[in-house]
Symmetry: C2
């Protein structure tokens, strides 16, 4: 049973917000999505819908064309769908379970892009769920599969397992000391990658990083999980060590930054997304280090202060200035019960 990571607070101990398994699959004998016209694309969506029917979870089918801009972007901000799925909305759809822990994108880059999200560091559970649904579908639909290569995908980088495993981590210390760029280089060399909260890979996104495998071909699913597990443990250790030395050398400055962040988010009247993510990172840092009470769900706040989620909450389209004011209001309310545990 997967747990929705956005509503969960069990990431404070090991800096890991969420775990995700993504499988890329295509249907045998049908053109890849970018070669399909709208009618054929819809036929694929119908096939997938039949493939899912009768599964132990039921899925809500969402046609992105039928939803407005804000609703689509709320799904994007929750990582349930991709930008490409919105871009090709006449051909695409998604199927999402009630808990929003499983999302199957239809006619994104591949016919099926299945995502399994779990809160905290629970990749194994997500993988088991992925295999279960994958087997279920495979009994009903024929996948494009080669004995030699494995699953066939539009882009060669997904061939083989078609699997990407990723964890979302909060790494403020590695980020502040710019050691994350070294990590990036090292990971690239061993077939892994690290990106930002929404894929841009920069530290402006609240020091939140997604670590995932790049290589899908010539390795087993088990290898992918084991490799990622080793890397994640190493990153957690590194982050811990850098935090220790940061607190030794700059303890006053960091405590100050953390406490001021509480003051700023608790009182601001207008705030950009970039600033908000910076201060939220300091607050998360404070919770992780036991300086602040952990009675709030930072993941929910992280996603809630994104543009579409804000507008969806008040059911109103807003320009950027209005959003900054609404974001400040949302953050003031979200932060108000946080407590500074040790002020001295």
């Amino acid at each position: 049973m997967l747990t929705n990571w956005i509503n969960s607070s069990d990431s404070y101990n090991n800096f890991i917000l969420s775990s995700r398994i993504r499988l890329a699959r295509n249907l045998k004998g049908i053109n890849f999505p970018h070669k399909l016209d709208d009618d054929n694309a819809i036929a694929v969506i119908d096939k997938i819908e039949r493939g899912l029917s009768g599964y132990e979870y039921s899925f809500k089918k969402i046609k992105l064309n039928d939803q407005d801009y804000i609703d689509n972007n709320v799904l994007l901000e929750k990582h349930l769908i991709s930008n490409d799925l919105i871009k090709f909305s006449t051909k695409s759809a998604c199927f999402i379970n009630e808990d929003q822990t499983i999302s199957i994108m239809a006619n994104e880059e591949d016919h099926l892009r299945m995502q399994f999200f779990n809160s905290g560091y629970n990749l194994k559970e997500a993988f088991d769920e992925a295999m279960k649904l994958d087997d279920f579908i495979e009994e009903k639909l024929d996948y494009a599969f080669s004995e030699k290569i494995g699953y066939l995908t539009t882009c060669p980088t997904n061939l083989g397992t078609g699997m990407r495993a990723s964890v979302m981590m909060h790494l403020p210390a590695l980020s502040m000391t710019d050691q994350i760029s070294k990590v990036y280089k090292a990971l690239t060399q061993i077939g892994m990658t690290i990106r930002g909260l929404y894929g841009e890979g920069s530290k402006i996104d609240g020091n939140i990083y997604q670590v995932s495998n790049q290589i899908t071909l010539g390795v087993s699913e088990k290898d992918i999980l084991n490799n990622l597990h080793a890397i994640v443990n190493e990153l957690v250790d590194k982050e811990c060590n850098v935090r220790k030395s940061l607190f030794n050398d700059f303890g006053i400055e960091i405590k100050d930054k953390i406490f001021r962040s509480v003051g700023i988010l608790g009182n601001c009247y207008s705030i950009t997304s970039k600033e908000a993510l910076e201060y939220l990172s300091y607050i998360r840092f404070g919770i992780e280090e036991g300086l602040l009470s952990s009675n709030i769900c930072m993941n929910k706040i992280l996603i809630g202060c994104q543009p579409a989620s804000l507008q969806s909450d008040v059911n109103n389209k807003m320009n950027s200035k209005e959003r900054d004011i609404e974001r400040a209001k949302f953050l003031r309310n979200s932060i108000k019960n946080i407590e500074i545990i040790d002020k001295n």
Copy 2:
């Protein structure tokens, strides 16, 4: 009856924290202070003490040599004495009344430097008090006086009336828009000057400025007061107008800055004097504009967060890092009851 400006809150309406009259006087037939040896200097102090005795207020005589560094600097931070008085502490003394509204420095640049402080914009009262004490002393001691020139002083810039009238103003809008440099030029041309909170004339000192006359010779005391009055009124008008247009153009940003300042000072763990003054200025701005409750005395906080005042409060010598932490504690406590009146 003068009111201690540091303990008073009646500056919020007209941006004027305090009014001050300063008289420079010397005793006839005695060398100016820099030409006196220690014994003769002490003889001057004794004369001044006799000159003050029997006045309707009693004065506490303070020998700066007998006090420690911190106590002397507390007086400096309260504007009751000058740096020079501390520098020449073997020769100097000061006489301060109980309310700390009158301070007579002995053997600063002149034998007597008499200061009369009043809260808010009340120069006339300070002037009347100055004249009363001046007359009282003149009946007992012979001042160095020339029928042609007026009072004789060590520095020619104080000749004549020996009087400097000044008001301390909070001018954030003129400061933010850098119009204060124009004001500085204009005032200089008409024999007035504008300086910072502790004389440096820069905007780092919390946007607090002292406006005073430069010319003491060839004008009457009444002229000095009238000129200053006209200038102060003009500055208040200018500041008001710039504030109005700032709120029109950048209302969101200013409200945000003001509210964040409450958050930062209410939560910081360490803070420099420069930063503190910046945020205190925003909070004062917020009170003056009715955005924050005025239930706190900003002048007291302004002086209380200065280095010596902080150390005096806890009766402990501290290095700069320790002071920044103590300042944060002082500010958190001072600010905690302030209320944001209109958040939306």
